[in-house]
């Protein structure tokens, strides 16, 4: 029991959860609406896309890299898919769009994977390049424009709901989107992969010490390559979900999300230098940012101050984990002094 408490107080997730609870209570006190069923459903709804992205960003961070190409990758694979299906007049179910984005996402991810596994250039630099290539292909080759009318299957999927939460006082209804299941599935699969497969443990090992991982017998290149294939698929799923739910394809809608997502993952305790972090933390970090982003009006923070409030939160949040880290470093046996 004492051990569990000690373990808890040492974990980043625990503090993050405390912060989330504190923020929630503040919002509840200021708005009286936070803990209403339909607000919680709204947050779950808003969490879907950043949450799926965060899983991919988290996996790359664990392996010691920072991927900034996932929004561009997702935009391209979803744009290509939607364009092709709309032009072909496709009106069937959503399975084909899913299949197509998964295939295109995997191919684009493989493009990232090819570079990152072969060349000793930081992932950040490579993905900065590939992100430009992806959006360049979308705009140059596909001459991307907004697509107002999606294939019926995607539209229907975007509108389908698991359940509808009604606020008894105001009578407002919020839809729990079917897409939430995609988030749940991605997180569940990622959890199993990261914890119970040699591939997942390999990502942690590579993030901890790449040469040691190679010596231990991990096929580092292969693991990195497949990592980016998987991340390409995850990002494309997020893109498809966003597009379907908006019921329109905005080619640039996702661009610029990468920094917020990476901030969320780091807030969740993943180290920028790789090797540490948990999916629980990642989801909590994303949840915290989503809560704050989507409660500014509820709390009544003036529009002008919203960016400031969010930035402060990220600084404070990452600051807390940094302080935790330095404290635990200090506690470690010091053998440097002579």
């Amino acid at each position: 029991m004492a051990k569990l408490v000690r373990k808890l107080t040492k974990s980043n997730e625990f503090y993050l959860l405390l912060v989330i609870i504190a923020v929630s209570i503040v919002i509840q006190l200021r708005s009286g609406q936070f803990f209403s069923a339909n607000n919680l459903v709204d947050l779950a709804n808003a969490m879907v896309v950043p949450g799926i992205f965060a899983v991919g960003a988290f996996m790359v961070l664990v392996a010691g890299g920072i991927d900034v190409s996932f929004p561009a990758l997702a935009s391209l694979s979803v744009y290509a898919t939607t364009r092709v299906l709309v032009d072909a007049g496709y009106s069937g179910g959503v399975w084909l769009p899913f299949l197509l984005v998964i295939v295109v996402g995997a191919i684009l991810g493989a493009f990232n994977g090819l570079f990152t596994s072969r060349f000793v250039v930081p992932v950040l630099i490579i993905t900065l390049g590939t992100a430009s290539v992806f959006s360049g292909v979308m705009q140059g080759v596909f001459k991307s424009v907004q697509i107002p009318n999606l294939p019926q299957g995607m539209s229907d999927f975007g509108r389908s709901t698991l359940f509808v939460a009604t606020n008894p006082e105001s009578g407002l209804t919020s839809n729990m989107p079917m897409a939430f299941l995609i988030l749940v599935a991605v997180v569940a699969v990622a959890f199993v992969v990261m914890r119970y497969t040699t591939f997942g443990r390999g990502l942690y090992a590579i993030g901890g010490d790449e040469s040691a991982a190679a010596r231990a017998g991990f096929k580092v290149r292969k693991i990195k390559f497949w990592l980016f294939v998987i991340v390409g698929i995850i990002a494309s799923l997020a893109g498809l979900v966003r597009t379907s739910m908006m019921d329109q394809m905005h080619p640039t809608n996702l661009l610029g999300m990468e920094l917020m997502v990476i901030a969320a993952v780091v807030l969740g305790g993943a180290s920028i230098t790789g090797g540490t972090g948990t999916l629980t933390g990642t989801m909590l970090g994303t949840l915290l940012i989503v809560i704050v982003q989507n409660s500014m009006i509820l709390v009544g923070i003036p529009t002008f101050w919203q960016g400031f409030a969010l930035g402060t939160l990220i600084l404070v949040g990452t600051g807390i984990s940094a302080v935790q880290l330095t404290r635990s470093r200090k506690r470690a046996p010091a053998l440097v002094q002579g």
Binding site: Y196, T197, T198, F199, R201, Y204, A205, G207, G208, D209, S211, A212, A213, R215, A216, G217, F218, G274, G275, T276, S328, A332, P333, L335, Q337, G338
Partner: protein, 504 residues
């Protein structure tokens, strides 16, 4: 010698035209404790990599487990019982002890899914083999160096190892930890597991090694028993050069002390230090990690001003409360870690040398006389035989020994009367080490007072005319190096402080 664990014969390996290994032969018997010695760049690490399957040799054969290979893969090496413990231990600091121990087995079994239950069982079995108790859920990054090494050894033993190759295993360990390591190695020997130490220092593994193989420039120089080696022959085989192995005897020692301390102390580091240093002397101060030796050095140099006691220079009490005042009183300091403390690695050799006396090259107008400064840099490069084509090259183009000489030059350029050196030859190869020692002896004979602070016992015994041993923040003994053996001194250093009375 029958039934070798491993025998490499006539191994040759070239990289981009440079012959790293040239006809090396090495045989290790079951249970043998063998030491492979050689200077940096002699080909030691290439040889290990050939033996562990990382590099394929160009020529020669590897006999392993009764089979003959012309080259090995890492998997073949491991499955035939060869395990390497690298200097960095190849552990994952971010993972738990359990995973560090058990992941290899999961990989070796080509599993897709890992089982935490199975991993825990494997890890428990692994640490049990060497009676190592540790919290399996602790992150390896939180462990001490010795504990990390034990994790690495436990891991190596898991895969039915017949030979464990250890790269510089004792460098970062305390004496007690080294003893614990040796006990484990002897235990392995009893079980028929051979150990190959790789080292460039004789004394570290001398007491336990049964045979030595020394290589130089990629060639085998000698394979011999420890009885056939002493410091001089060892150094000779390593470097191909002859060294005098005599004790330092000062030529002219002044009667009056140039430096004295009375009851010097820094809270929490050391206390009651009385020492005297005369011109022409080399005084050794030795002690283990944490004995207060570094703090004493820093205190003498003003970087860590003393909390109690006084410092006298030429018989007068002076206030050494900053580095600046120490320099003004003629004290020079060569720090322990030349890379972080002493040098601007990106700057040129000559500007590093003149930086601490830059003021003397500044004209009345405030402009730096670059020509004069360069000439001074060149003078020291010549005097200390720093191997560089051009003093304008950056310091990081030099080898460790030459970098250390630059730190020396930097302080000699301030014309000190007293020179304090902290670990002057840490990480320096034998050839350079001898050169540095010779320079120090010359400096002393020219009338400088020199203090060497080092835990390298042979170094202080050979190069100092007096040695003080520090233990738990106090001077516990002063010895005459000509009549004291290395092991006697080592004992003084590592004794439980409560049983040591006063100073000798």
């Amino acid at each position: 010698m029958v039934d070798n664990v491993i025998a490499v014969r006539d191994i040759g390996k070239a990289f981009a035209g440079v012959q790293a290994l040239d006809g090396i032969t090495l045989e290790i018997a079951p249970g043998e404790i063998h030491c492979l010695a050689g200077e940096n760049g002699s080909g030691k690490s290439t040889l290990i990599k050939v033996m562990s399957g990382v590099h394929a040799p160009d020529t020669g054969t590897i006999e392993l487990n009764g089979k003959t290979f012309s080259k090995l893969s890492p998997i073949e090496a491991i499955s035939n019982g060869v395990q390497v413990i690298y200097q960095d231990f190849s552990v994952f600091p971010n993972l738990t002890v359990m995973e560090n121990l058990a992941l290899n087995a999961e990989l070796a079994a080509h599993r897709t899914f890992v089982s935490w239950k199975r991993m825990r069982a494997v890890a428990e079995e692994a640490i049990a083999k060497i009676n190592f108790t540790i919290d399996l859920d602790e992150k390896v990054g939180q462990l001490s160096v010795a504990q990390k090494q034990l994790v690495a050894i436990s891991r190596a033993l898991m895969s039915d190892a017949k030979l464990i190759i250890m790269d510089e295993p004792t460098t970062a360990l305390t004496k007690r930890e080294v003893d614990a390591l040796f006990a484990i190695i002897l235990d392995l020997k009893a079980r028929g597991i051979a150990t190959l130490f790789v080292s460039h220092k004789l004394d570290e593994v001398f007491e336990i090694s049964e045979r030595f193989t020394i290589i130089r420039n990629g060639k085998s120089v000698i394979t011999c028993l420890p009885e056939e080696l002493d410091h001089a022959t060892f150094s000779h085989h390593m470097t191909g050069r002859e060294f005098d192995d005599n004790h330092f005897v000062p030529e002219h020692v002044s009667d009056e002390p140039i430096l004295e301390t009375r009851g010097l102390g820094v809270n929490g580091a050391f206390a009651d230090v009385d020492l005297t240093l005369r011109k022409g002397e080399i005084l050794g101060i030795t002690g283990l990690l944490g004995s207060g030796r570094t703090e004493l050095a820093l205190s003498l140099f003003g970087a860590k001003p003393a909390d109690s006691g006084e410092i006298l220079i030429n018989g007068e009490a002076v206030d050494v409360n900053s580095v600046r005042s120490a320099i003004a009183h003629g004290i020079g300091y060569v720090p322990e870690d030349r890379l972080t403390e002493g040098l601007f690695l990106e700057r040129s050799i000559s500007s590093n040398i003149v930086i601490s006396e830059l003021d003397s090259f500044v004209s009345k107008l405030g402009a730096l006389d670059q020509r004069k400064a360069d000439a001074e840099g060149q003078r020291w490069v010549d005097e200390l035989k720093i191997a560089t084509p051009n003093p304008a090259n950056a310091v990081n183009t030099l080898s460790g020994g030459n970098q250390q000489r630059i730190v020396l030059a930097k302080w000699l350029a301030t014309h000190p009367k007293i020179l304090i050196l902290n670990g002057p030859t840490v990480g320096v190869d034998i050839g350079s080490k001898h050169d540095i020692h010779r320079i120090l002896r010359t400096l002393a004979s020219e009338g400088l007072g020199v203090i060497i602070i080092s835990d390298d016992i042979p170094e202080v015994i050979q190069n100092c005319n007096r040695v003080m041993a520090m233990n738990a923040g106090r001077i516990v003994a002063e010895i005459d190096p000509r009549t004291t053996t290395e092991s006697e001194l080592a004992e003084l250093m590592s004794k439980d402080p409560s049983t040591v009375d006063g100073k000798g």
